[in-house]
Symmetry: C2
Subunit: 416 residues, 2 copies
């Protein structure tokens, strides 16, 4: 497939991708969008110009919206047909390629565009599905000999997170303040977190509202998943350590989480399906799955000090996940919990086996005992004020590249 | 104050109350409503008839809505003025009392009305703020000698719950299925929960959207609280025991939570303000408060077997709470977490010191070791299929009564 829009081989946004997002065009007009190379395509205008006609189930301009929710809710038959139609329109020689006025009105350069939250997120859950991450954390905070808790290999452990504070890539966050209890003190103290961390995660987005009391089976789960994003689950380790027993992480996380702007569909990721780590012991029936339910997605984390260079500090891969998305969704709904369009389910920190593949500062510096050396000669145990954390993710195979771009966020000093 | 609408002394919905809810009238028309005695008053029509004119900030019919969110977002100056105006209209001799057509069109008998969820809940958090409850649970599951964890007296411990599965009183719920690990087995098993429980709670509802990075102080917190509801935080204890370490309760809770239909304002509850238990050790500055921030609200739990009588199984009081709502909200936002209109913050199980004041079956039967005897001769360790749990709450002082009515829910058998 060759597009009439030019892009380099290294572009995450090849014609094989066709992701979906929401953009502010020229600081004045908001609509759903897709991206190819470094061009952003306004789907609402594309619809108005008649290019998305004759798609069964697409009966109004759902792209004229501040979120993708209405579009996503149309379901896979419609959203897949739209994606395929856009792909055809982007090909060399297409009707669109020959229509100069439409090209001028629908395509925008990246610098004319600001991305917004792609979806309204009614509910957000964070899983804990990387065996390497869970093992590392268990070794540090509990017992290296019994790092994994007894339930870990039987349940894709997860917890509810805060939906209100999920923000789009590029949003600055202030360092959170809160209670911590240093080991050498009798009482807790109050102040800015001293152990601010990122967590390298991915998330998937739901395309349907289900009834309470119903469940989504492992086999059906992927039909309910519109697509995926990169996700930075910012974590204040010192606040977390003091607060999390017995009810889990709370203020250590809910000051902010950051998502990447482009939702990449499961269909675009299909060529990169991969097998999962073997699950031993065998899981209960409702968690058994067939086929390749994992995806080979390269992940990178960069730390960029104020006015400094980017430093690659971790390289991981989504395929390391012990529990896959279908299992997570089946587990989440096995008790009858309903899901809603736009729900975001995050993977948990994605760590690999090697030390440079760990998905958090906590693991990379082993709780601060082994600081990261940066190119500018400074070192980091955790994130400093004015550091920017950038995560990138892409899949690549046989000359095909489909990626997510980046999720980026800068940590400002705590508010006075 | 005497109303032209008659009601008994035992009514929760005296003229001193004027709660807010959302009702379906005659199975066809939905609007915001209030209640006096056993009459429900359609506020959208009352507005259309011109009875709510000349209230600063009330410029459109926000009562013509499926939720209270738009009304609540107007803020205390407006919502208080509306409440006081309604109170005047309900007095003997008011303009409304003399207008037969308006009375006929605006007032409905209870049996013509079905209540809906009063608010759309964007975010739901559950606290754990009763010292008696936390002590009981700690004694049963951990160590009676050190029942309270080290953080408990320093932090109003809380966790994020599931917003999607919060339902209105009267909604039947199926017994959840899930993974449990009986003590006498090597591996987890799958099936319907065998330890289904209620939790007697109250919740408060937020009236503003705040910016991320800002905090609500203890002193300002009550300005952000529109009102309160009764709340049943259904809990599957066997699922909870297996899943909750280390990230907290998840599937044990998110199959459903139930709220009462009428939101009682903090202003209606003002005469029932009460002191709190002394907090020792002293809390950190951001949690210090002045004045009476607790409320004396009598709480009752009834268990009604299928076709049977109601059995009073617990009597508690909201005033037992160790942490008050202002502290909960200040803590929740101290890290910059933003809140949204309609957010629901639940208290956690409200237990008292006496055995008959415990707010859950877990505590009342001490983990099933001391079953509850019912009037029909049967007994309960936990909730049986087709049992209905009814919670009632009211404040009473010097002949004044302001109450919540009830929150009720029936547990159906697990789906096959």
């Amino acid at each position: 497939m060759k597009s009439f829009v030019n892009y380099t081989e290294e572009s995450d946004f090849s014609i094989h991708n066709v992701p979906f997002g929401v953009a502010v065009f020229n600081q004045e007009y908001i609509a759903c969008a897709t991206r190819i190379g470094d061009m952003v395509l306004d789907l609402a205008t594309l619809y108005d110009y008649g290019f998305l006609e004759n798609i069964d189930g697409l009966n109004e301009n759902v792209f004229e919206a501040y979120t993708l929710n209405e579009f996503i809710e149309l379901g896979k038959p419609v959203t897949n047909a739209v994606r395929e139609k856009i792909q055809q329109l982007l090909l060399e020689g297409s009707l669109l390629s020959k229509d100069e006025k439409s090209i001028e009105d629908c395509f925008f350069d990246l610098d004319q565009v600001k991305m917004m939250m792609p979806v309204h997120v009614p509910n957000y859950t964070d899983f804990y599905s990387s065996i390497e991450h869970a093992t590392n954390v268990g070794s540090m905070f509990r017992d290296p000999a019994n790092a994994l808790l007894p339930n870990w290999k039987h349940i894709p452990v997860g917890y509810h997170g805060r939906a209100s504070s999920i923000v789009i890539s590029g949003t600055d966050l202030h360092r959170p303040k809160g209670q911590t209890k240093p080991a050498d003190m009798d009482k807790p103290i109050f102040g800015p977190s001293k152990q601010l961390d990122f967590e390298l995660e991915m998330g998937f987005i739901i395309n349907q509202n289900t009834e309470m009391g119903t469940s989504i089976s492992v086999g059906d789960a992927e039909d309910s998943i519109f697509g995926m994003v990169l996700f930075n689950d910012w974590s204040a380790r010192d606040i977390q350590a003091w607060e999390y027993v017995p009810l889990g992480p709370f203020l250590a996380k809910n000051f902010g989480s950051t998502v990447s702007p482009w939702v990449v569909t499961l269909e675009a990721l299909a060529p990169f399906r991969a097998s999962s780590p073997k699950q031993d012991p065998e899981v209960l029936d409702y968690l058994k799955f067939e086929g390749n339910k994992n995806f080979d997605i390269n992940l990178e984390v960069f730390l960029q000090p104020e006015n400094g260079e980017e430093n690659l500090i971790a390289q991981s891969n989504f395929k390391y996940m012990y529990w896959n998305m279908a299992q997570q969704l089946a587990h989440h709904t096995i008790n009858g919990c309903n899901v809603e369009v736009g729900d975001l389910y995050a993977s948990g920190t994605i760590s690999g086996k090697e030390k440079d593949s760990y998905g958090s500062m906590l693991e990379l510096t082993w709780r601060g005992t082994n600081p990261i050396q940066l190119k500018d000669g400074s070192e980091r145990k955790f994130i400093d004020d004015n550091d920017t954390i950038i995560m990138r993710g892409f899949a690549e195979k046989d000359g095909l590249r489909v990626g997510f771009g980046e999720v980026s966020g800068k940590i400002l000093a705590a508010k006075p």
